[in-house]
Symmetry: C2
DNA sequence: ATGAAAGCGCTAACAT
DNA sequence: ATGTTAGCGCTTTCAT
């Protein structure tokens, strides 16, 4: 029992396939009475337009892809353990659905082992593109619509660059640093990941300028992104063993690393927040329920995802992208790890 | 500049489209030398087979859909906050990719506002189907291949029922209950959600039988699934205000509710685990980092997802489903909340 | 307002 | 081993 086609409907309604097509797509003009008959026939038959056939004709499938690049780098089965990505994917799903688009999760579609269907997507969302991103290059070359979340470092916006959703890393870095400063910290260090994405690079740059402006000596450690707190532990050790007084404030971009930093500080007898204030650059459940709870920059991945989907959908329709200037995204969440300590309370 | 088609490649290689098709699909037989020419031509042109056109012909797109039903019920943007689903989706993505399939996240495709493309999927994975699930009915009626994770309650396996991945709710219930018993608990209560899925229903049934067997009085509370701990709080109150001695052991199926139960017990002056042992029926980061850490049944959603994808992929290829009998999935993770308390230590 | 017909890019009989 | 050809189900000129 074959699935009914447009032809079956046409026959049953006593009209041509054109008329059926028109009544469903809204193209052309079809007399109301005829529409009735067509719809009735379609209903009786349980007819549903074949999305693939439509896609072939229209050259548009109604699916966008979210590239889960962490998939390749980190332990893939833990993909959604990265709080940020999990929230992003969830929100992207919802936003896509609202736009009438399906959302496909794909890993790097540049590779040969990419699921064929990955390439059938109408457009791509690429989170955290890196310098000279091969995926971005490939999409650009192939003329496939895409938006990135965060700039492609090295491709400043303005000149024919990829459209992107602003993650406001500069503003957020200042937010975190000024907050640490306001708690009394004066030896403020920065711990970043090593991926060459906007988040790491821009934060580092802003931190250096800020340190100069505040007249403090910058102290940064870069450790590879990972799903455990190992990198954070290594970073803390390198910070503490650098010679000179230990930092009294640390801005750690990766949430897992923030936990590692705190653990190591504790092992070295430094109390958080009394001796060292810590702020993480990305929020996660584990930070909320840690002891002490860890302050962090909430990037608001749900809002970023929404904006990315909307921007891409607009692009697909040839509409101008929505403008979010004036409604900042990302905020500082102050928790126990960066509570100001009155000098009196310090031993 | 149009995207090159199979025809362009054929022309450039000086062969017919058939030959090009064959060299790429592996069908028919093509002389190695010819294959070389074809591939070279394809490479020069930057040719990639059009997945949609292939899909139209083969009647198969290479995409499967994961139905995120929670999407409709709960706050959608928090979809992936449900630890279980986040892990499931992540693992499903990876497994699909490995099978050469794309994974689409869709909400209920029965609704009219379903993204068209949702229906283009070759098959569906439905997690936690409920009694008389309309989605299951729809898929079955439409003849769309699907697998459920957990049985469709009321449709016992064996007779032409939907193929499903066994979540072993019966075995896991016994695991949790026997564990509570072994810690010395004798007044063991059950808190479940209200969705009519296998997890809630089967656990309840097993609990009743188990209570009878152990000669204890069953005590169950059902509270609607939610993303906060409110339901758990209500459940605990109802348990404590029921009259009679308070329970000394609770099996709470929803992880958020477990936290609510524990919070309320504490407020009522009952200590966990000293006075009441608690085990959650689903694991989550929040349970791991809670104080005390909460014992739980780890459903191993990653493994369930893998099995679901493999089963569906097999079905799509007309292969028999892989057999997992003998390799149980799901395990008990004992943490502080259900540590046995030696009678001596009790006040 | 309705319909005939030409494809979209590809696969799969069926020749040769 | 290679080529011809008829569609897959639909949209879209272009007639009528």
């Amino acid at each position: 029992m074959r699935r009914p086609t447009i032809r079956d409907v046409a026959r049953r309604a006593g009209v041509s396939v054109t008329t059926v097509s028109h009544t469903f797509t809204g193209n052309g003009t079809v007399a109301p009475s005829t529409q009735q008959r067509v719809r009735a026939a379609a209903h009786d038959l349980g007819y549903r337009p074949d999305v693939i056939a439509q896609g072939l004709r229209r050259n548009r499938l109604g699916v966008i892809a979210l590239v889960a690049r962490q998939l390749d780098a980190l332990r893939p089965e833990l993909l959604f353990d990265v709080d940020y990505f999990a929230r992003f994917a969830g929100a992207a799903t919802v936003a896509s659905l609202a736009e009438g688009l399906g959302l496909m999760l794909v890993s790097d579609p540049t590779g040969p082992r990419a699921a064929g269907a990955a390439l059938a997507s109408d457009g791509f969302i690429v989170t955290e593109p890196v310098t000279d991103d091969p995926l971005v290059a490939m999409l650009a070359r192939a003329g496939v619509p895409f938006v990135t979340v965060g700039e492609v470092p090295g491709h400043p916006p303005g000149e024919g660059s990829a459209p992107h959703v602003d993650i406001e890393s500069g503003r957020l870095a200042l937010l975190a640093l000024d907050h640490l400063w306001s708690t009394g910290a004066r030896r403020i260090a920065l711990v970043t990941g090593t991926d060459r994405n906007e988040w790491n690079l821009r934060t580092t740059a802003v931190y250096r300028r800020w340190a100069q402006h505040r007249r403090i000596t910058p102290s940064t450690v870069h450790v590879a992104e990972s799903l455990d707190d190992e990198g954070g532990r290594r970073a803390a050790i390198s910070l503490l063993d650098a010679g000179g007084p230990p930092p009294d404030g640390v801005y750690v971009l990766t949430s897992n690393h923030a936990l590692g930093v705190i653990a190591t500080l504790a092992e070295r007898g430094l109390r958080v927040p009394d001796d060292v204030r810590v702020v993480a650059g990305s929020d996660a459940e584990s930070l909320r329920s840690a002891d002490p709870a860890v302050s962090s920059i909430d990037l608001q991945p749900d809002e970023l995802a929404r904006r990315a989907v909307l921007a891409l959908a607009a692009r697909l329709d040839g509409r101008p992208p929505p403008d979010h200037a004036g409604t900042p995204v990302g905020r500082l969440v102050v928790r126990a790890s960066s509570a100001a300590t009155p000098p009196g309370r310090r031993p």
